[in-house]
Structures are given as C-alpha cells and as structure tokens.
C-alpha cells in the first residue's frame, strides 16, 4: 500500500522505508509513515550532519547541559544559569517573510522557556540578496517586521544580530534567530516523562492544519515551483505565546510538573516521542481530546500539524487540576490527552481505534546516520588563485571608504533595530550597534555579552579557515566589551548535503570551528543545521553563524567601541598585513570573490583577547573595537560613529604594504583601542606579557578622518559626510520607489 510516490512525497528513500518495516516488524500505515518521515527528516534527525557535529567540543566546567536538549545551559554562578540556542527559519521566511520570521522567533522562544528559563534576549542574523531587487527588499521588510512583531509583543528585547547582503541569498534568505534565557540553576526543566501513569497534558493554542509537511519542506531543496505551490503557511500568535510563557513558568515555579517539551517543527509527533524516548517509557495519547481549530481533522493531520504556540506537559495526576487552574488563569486550554505507559511504544487512539503503535526508540533514536561522500570542489584551487598585482591601487581612497561605509552590509543598521524593542526588561546596557550586546543580570554585578557572527565568503573560499574565523571573530567581539566567552551555539546554513562538495564544505567548516573552540577552550552547547539552502541547484555560500555568550564579572569592567575623548591615543593591537583575498573591498571595488581569506593564528588570537580583557579590567583602555569586514579604515570610522560626540581621528601608518591592503585588508587578530597618553607604557608592557604587538597609530580628535601612509595622505574625509552616508544608507535603500 505504501508506494514509491508516497515515499517520495515523504522524502523517504526506499532503504529508509525498509528500515522502518524492519524496526516495527510490519508495514506502517500512513500516519505512522508520516511520523517517521518527520522524525527522520534532516531537520529533526541530523542524519547527514551528526557524524561531523560529534567533533565539536561540548564539555567544560560550566556546562550544565550540552547538545541534546531544547537548548544548552551554562552555569553563571550566583545560583543562576543561562540557557541559549539558535534556530534557522530560512525556508519559511522565503515563502512568507513576515510569518516565517515571526514563527521563527516564536519557536526559539519556546525552546528557551521549555527549559524553565525566562527569555531575556533575542538576536537575529539575517542575510538577503541585494536591495536593488524589489523582491529582496520585500523579503527584508517582511522579515524585520515579523521579528519585530513577535519579539516586541513577547516583551523580549532584540538586542543585536547581523544583516548581510549578497546575491547568493537572493532567493534563499537566511533568518537565524538566537535566544538567551535566565534560570535558577536548580530549577531547570527537561523533556522527561517520569513514571508510568503520569498525565500527558496538551497546553496552548488549538491544532489546525498548519504547516503540515513543514518539517519535510524545510528539508527539501527549493525549485521554481515553490513560488507557486505554496504549502500551508503558519501564522504566529505572539499574544498567545506570551500567555503560554507566563503560564509555563508559573507551573514550573510551583513545582507542578515533571517534564515539558515544546511542539516545534514536528508538533505532537516530536514532543510525544521525544519525551518518552528520553525517559525510556511508552506514551499513549487520544487524539479526540486534542483541541482542534478546524473540522474533520484526521490522525495524520493532527499528529503532523505544526500549529504554533503549543506545549506538551507531563505531570503527576495529583497535580493536574492545579496545572489546569494556572492555565485557566492565563485564559489557556490545558487538556489531558493521554498518559505515560510502562511499555516502549507510542500508541495513538482516534475515535476508539488504535491508529499508531510504534516503538518510540525506533522513531527517535534509530534513524539512519549517513556518512555522506565528501569531495573538494574541482574549482576550489582556481577559486583560491588570486594575483593582486594587476589590480590598480591608485584611487580616491576617501571615496572608496565612503562607498564601503554606505554599502548596506557595512552601513548603520538602525533601520532594522529601531523596529525592535531592544530595551524592554530594562537590562540592556550596550544597545544594538556595538561589537556585542551587553545586558546586566539583575541582582548581581554581572553583565552578559552576546554576539552573532559569520562570514559566508571566507567559508566559500576556505571553509576550514572560515570556520575558525567565525568563532575567533565572535570571541573578539566579546573581548572588546570586556567579556570572556562561556560557550557558543551555532547555526550551520549549507546547500544540499547529498552533493559531496557541499558535504566537504560542511565537514571543513565544522572542523575549523572545532579547532577554534578547542584553542579557546570554549564548549559548544547546541545549535542547528539548515541544509538544502539552494535555489535551482545553486547553493548559498556555506554560512555558519556563531552565537557566542560571554560574561563580565563586574559591570565596572565594561568597555565601549566608540572614541571617548579628544586627544586620546589610538593604539593598534595586532598587526597590519598585506592580505586582500576574500575582502569586502575586493568584492565591492573589483567584483572579485577569489583568493584566500586572511590567515588566522589561533594562539595569537587567544592572547589578544586575554590582553584586551586585562587592559580593560586594569582601566588602561577607554574604548576597544575589533577589525573585521572593511579593515582598518572602516574600523576607525566605526569608532568615530560610535563616539557620543562623533570625534574624528588622525592616523599615521608606516608599513610597507599596498595602501589599499593597509586600509581595507581584513587581517585577523586586530583590535583598535584608545588610551590616555600617560597609560600607554603600562598598556605596552601588559601587551608584552601576552606577546601581543601594540603600537600608537594616531590620536582621537578633529572633525575629519585623516589617514597618512609614509607621508602620503590616503584618506581625508569629513566626519559629518561619512556619518551621514553611513547612517542613511539602509533607510535609503529600503525606501519605496
């Protein structure tokens, strides 16, 4: 009865089907097949990525929960823990930008509060095609308003993120949302069933035919037909989720529940089977009790629905009435739909009939794991070949700098974050725009720092180095505000894993990330993999996005990126080298996306961060800002834009390298600091202790940017002009007409 066609529609291979038959000892019915297809989809099972992800370091003294639960958990001290995770909602955001992004926010929030944590911060990493195309503009507009609508309504501030533009994301935007929550260390909750006889309680929104096949959709490559054949799109209800959040935290605080699991991409299927599998129990549910929004829903639809704003709670039967009272207080449904059993199966009843009876372990844990073939792309060597000698470097550098600063990727992102409530909960100490978002932890002296970082072009040209740099850059951002990293989460956005070239990129990126994490001794506590980011066979750049969380023990040791005072010394920590491959400058000025990304020395990078934090702690530096895309010239300009009084600078350089490489090269391991003249000697001797090169390169002040190279003036630009260009670029690009 199960045909090839049905298998194809469920994205299952014949081999996978045979495995299902072997595991359950018979042919599955359609509902059972649907259940397997969801749980064995790439999205839920990580079947292609698992063997690579195992290489990431996941343990450390502060780790309370590594990968494997809804979110990772790190010990913060003072009896507190931070719970954080990142998720992608790329495909849904392409199909319906507003709802796709909004429900992405809803999903990651549920992952956090399912663990017993109150979400205190959201960050979003966004990638779109060029805004010259109205379609991309509409996608961006929808995505940003969707995030704004959901996050603002929930009262969770969106405090940071990144927005990057490149043609490869034109029909495949990347929408990765990160959330961090705060919990009491001894009051964390997990997907646990407890003992047989415990009640299975459905809470939250009613079930409709939303996104049936959504999880399967997220794992299928995009083709032209997606433009027309749109699957059932889910609509988010942030108001309901806000009630759900409060009600869930209340039943947890009152100790009324045993376990809890959100109904995310795979709805009832995922929540029921995972809770049982993690506790080694069985579970029985009766679909007749599931609150339904639409008429005549069949078991297949009810089990596979992706309706949002729902949770599954396990409670001792004695507590059921109290749980119901709490939910009623918040005007929400809470319905007992089944119980935990002594067996090992998921049993589903519908209108008196048993419609599903499969071992939960088969569904959750016995999905095949693939070691997919890996091949380095044939053109990789030619991609990496770059001769910069023929490229002219006689140009108007002031104009080039102005052009870079007004490119949407480097321009001010205020158009985006002004739409996000970034101050609600009154914890935001460093507002969006800085190297990392910084939040205070009420009742302690601590500050938390968070950042999202990724660079697709680096990973495209050298995935291993790109993976290392993504981690290093995230930590550099933390170091610049004075924070040391606690852990990372990551979102790996790649093309079709069935292509050996994509799997090569994937394995290299993960290896690079692993190497960097080991060098810094920082654990990976979770993440998410998004494959099949291709349109008509053309993949996006391999784009890992790192979500790094850091800590500043005392709020007095916070540092800001902007210049503070006229006359302060500008100090460069690190060295300028002639590295132009993979730079934003080459891409923008010459249309070149070749060569190798800058080299990275992880040892130096670690020492640089240690030095930077120590210098901040000792009060030797007044501002710090890391150098990344756009290099030294762009970095200096940003220090000026972030200074309260928009102070200019005068910088003199003496390196014997090409002037354009000096200004716009993206050599790693560099931080721009400012210091009082009288502190420089102390700063320099501290740097020596860490074997980090430091050097005075100029002074803060004046109303212009001035950069001189061995007596030649390279840049001479009015701060006002540069600031206006940088400030208005995105707004202009997004204006209608």
């Amino acid at each position: 009865m199960i045909s090839e066609e049905i298998l194809r529609l469920h994205n299952l291979t014949w081999e996978e089907y045979e495995r299902i038959v072997a595991l359950i000892g018979r042919e599955p019915n359609l509902t059972e097949l649907g259940i397997f297809s969801l749980m064995w989809s790439e999205h839920c099972s990580y079947k292609s990525s698992k063997i690579h992800l195992r290489n990431l370091p996941t343990s450390g003294p502060r780790v309370i929960q590594g990968p494997g639960e809804n979110a990772g958990v790190i010990d913060l001290g003072d009896g507190l823990a931070v719970v954080f995770k990142i998720e992608s909602h790329n495909h849904p955001s392409f199909i319906e930008p507003f709802q796709g992004a909004a429900t992405g926010v809803g999903g990651i929030l549920r992952d956090i509060f399912t663990m017993g944590a109150r979400p205190i911060a959201l960050l979003d990493s966004l990638r779109f095609g060029p805004l010259s195309d109205p379609k991309n503009k509409a996608i961006m507009d929808g995505v940003v308003s969707g995030i704004s609508s959901y996050g603002n309504s929930m009262g969770v501030p969106t405090v940071g993120g990144e927005v990057v533009f490149h043609a490869c994301y034109s029909h495949n935007p990347l929408v990765n949302v990160f959330c961090l929550g705060l919990a009491e260390k001894d009051k964390l909750f997990y997907a646990r069933a407890g003992k047989a006889g415990n009640a299975v309680i459905y809470v939250g929104a009613k079930t409709g035919r939303d996104g049936i096949h959504g999880a399967t959709m997220a794992s299928a490559e995009f083709g032209k037909e997606t433009e027309h054949k749109r699957p059932n799109v889910q609509v988010g209800d942030p108001f309901k989720e806000k009630l759900l959040l409060e009600a869930c935290l209340e039943v947890m605080a009152r100790g009324l529940i045993v376990g809890i699991q959100d109904m995310g991409a795979a709805g009832l299927t995922c929540s029921t089977t995972e809770i049982a599998a993690k506790s080694g129990t069985g579970i029985r549910v009766n679909l007749d009790f599931v609150p339904q929004r639409e008429e005549d829903m069949n078991p297949y639809e009810i089990m596979l629905s992706e309706s949002q704003e729902r949770m599954l709670i396990i409670a001792n039967p004695e507590h059921v009435s109290e749980v119901k009272e709490v939910f009623a207080k918040w005007d929400l449904d809470a319905v007992v739909i089944g119980e935990i059993t002594q067996g090992e199966n998921l049993e589903v009843y519908f209108k008196g009939e048993k419609v599903v009876d499969v071992p939960v372990a088969a569904v959750v844990d016995l999905c095949p794991v693939y070691e997919r073939p890996i091949r380095k792309p044939a053109n990789q060597a030619s991609l990496n070949f770059l001769d910069i000698k023929p490229l002219s470097f006689s140009q108007d550098f002031s104009q080039t700098l102005l052009d870079l600063l007004s490119h949407p990727t480097l321009a001010d992102k205020e158009w985006v974050f002004r739409q996000y409530d970034h101050m609600v909960q009154t914890n935001t100490v460093l507002l969006p725009g800085a190297d990392a978002a910084v939040l205070r932890v009420k009742g302690t002296k601590k500050l938390l720092a968070m950042t999202l970082d990724g660079n697709g072009l680096y990973c495209y040209l050298d995935p291993r180095t790109g993976g290392k740099i993504a981690v290093a850059e995230a930590f550099r951002n933390l170091a610049c505000v004075g924070a040391y990293p606690l852990g990372i989460t990551n979102c790996l956005n790649f093309g079709n894993p069935e292509k050996p070239e994509i799997m090569w990129q994937f394995s290299e990126v993960v290896a690079g990330m692993a190497e960097a994490c080991e060098a810094f001794e920082v654990p990976v506590t979770g993440g998410n993999v998004s494959f099949y980011n291709e349109t008509e066979g053309v993949p996006i750049f391999p784009t890992p996005v790192i979500g790094a969380v850091g800590l500043i023990d005392d709020y007095q040791h916070l540092c800001r990126p902007g210049f503070q005072e006229e006359g302060d010394l500008i100090v460069l920590a690190g060295e300028n080298k002639e590295e132009l491959g993979a730079t934003f400058y080459l891409q923008q000025k010459f249309g070149i996306e070749r060569g190798l990304p800058p080299a990275i020395d992880l040892g130096l990078e670690c020492r640089l961060h240690e030095f930077c934090r120590q210098a901040i702690k000792e009060g030797l530096v007044r501002s710090a800002h890391d150098l990344s895309e756009g290099g030294l010239a762009v970095g200096l300009a940003e220090c000026s834009f972030h200074s309260p009084e928009k102070l200019g600078f005068e910088v003199k350089l003496t390196e014997s390298i090409r002037p354009d490489a000096l200004l716009f090269g993206e050599t790693q391991s560099r931080i721009i600091m400012t210091a009082k003249e009288k502190e420089f000697n102390k700063l320099a001797s501290l740097a020596r202790k860490f074997s980090v090169p430091v050097r005075k390169i100029g002074r803060v002040g004046g109303e212009s940017f001035s950069i001189e190279h061995n007596g030649t003036k390279l840049v001479n630009l009015q701060v006002k002009e540069a600031f206006t260009a940088w400030k208005n670029a995105l707004e202009k690009a997004m204006a209608i007409g």
Partner: protein, 82 residues
C-alpha cells in the same frame, strides 16, 4: 470611480485577531457571537480609467499589493462608477 476591496485570511489560516476579538466579546457577554474573522478593507478612488479597464486593474493591484496571496484572498466591488 470608487471601488472597495476586502482582504481576508484564507479559510484554515489562523486568525489571532479574530479569535482575540471573539474572546473579548464573550467575556463582555456577547455570547451570540460564534466566530469572528478580521480582515482589511481598502477603498480606492480611481481616475482616468473606464469600467472595463478598472475591472482588470483592481484584481491585479489586489493580488500584487493589497493582499498577501499566500495567506489572504480578496473580493472587490464597485461603489460607484462615476
């Protein structure tokens, strides 16, 4: 010439607005209200165009700009053809 375009969520698509209004009406005692769907209305004033052309134009505008065809459908009518 005036036209009115009604844009509504497609059947089956969750309507949090309508549901919230319905809940509020029930709490206020208006329990006769079984269901509420909320949508948008646009009233357009057209000029320099005849009825036939308008009949082609309006669906195009509605589909491209006023409605989100993925989750919404629309209806339209002339209010006056002057």
């Amino acid at each position: 010439m005036k036209v009115r375009i009604l844009v509504r969520l497609k059947n089956g698509v969750l309507d949090p607005q309508g549901q919230t209004v319905r809940h509020a009406l029930h709490v206020l005692g208006y329990t006769q209200v079984k269901d509420v769907r909320q949508g948008k209305v646009f009233e357009l004033e057209l000029e320099g165009i005849d009825e036939a052309a308008a009949s082609r134009l309006i669906p195009e505008i509605a589909d491209r700009v006023l409605a989100n065809p993925i989750i919404e459908s629309f209806d339209w009518e002339f209010l006056d053809k002057a």
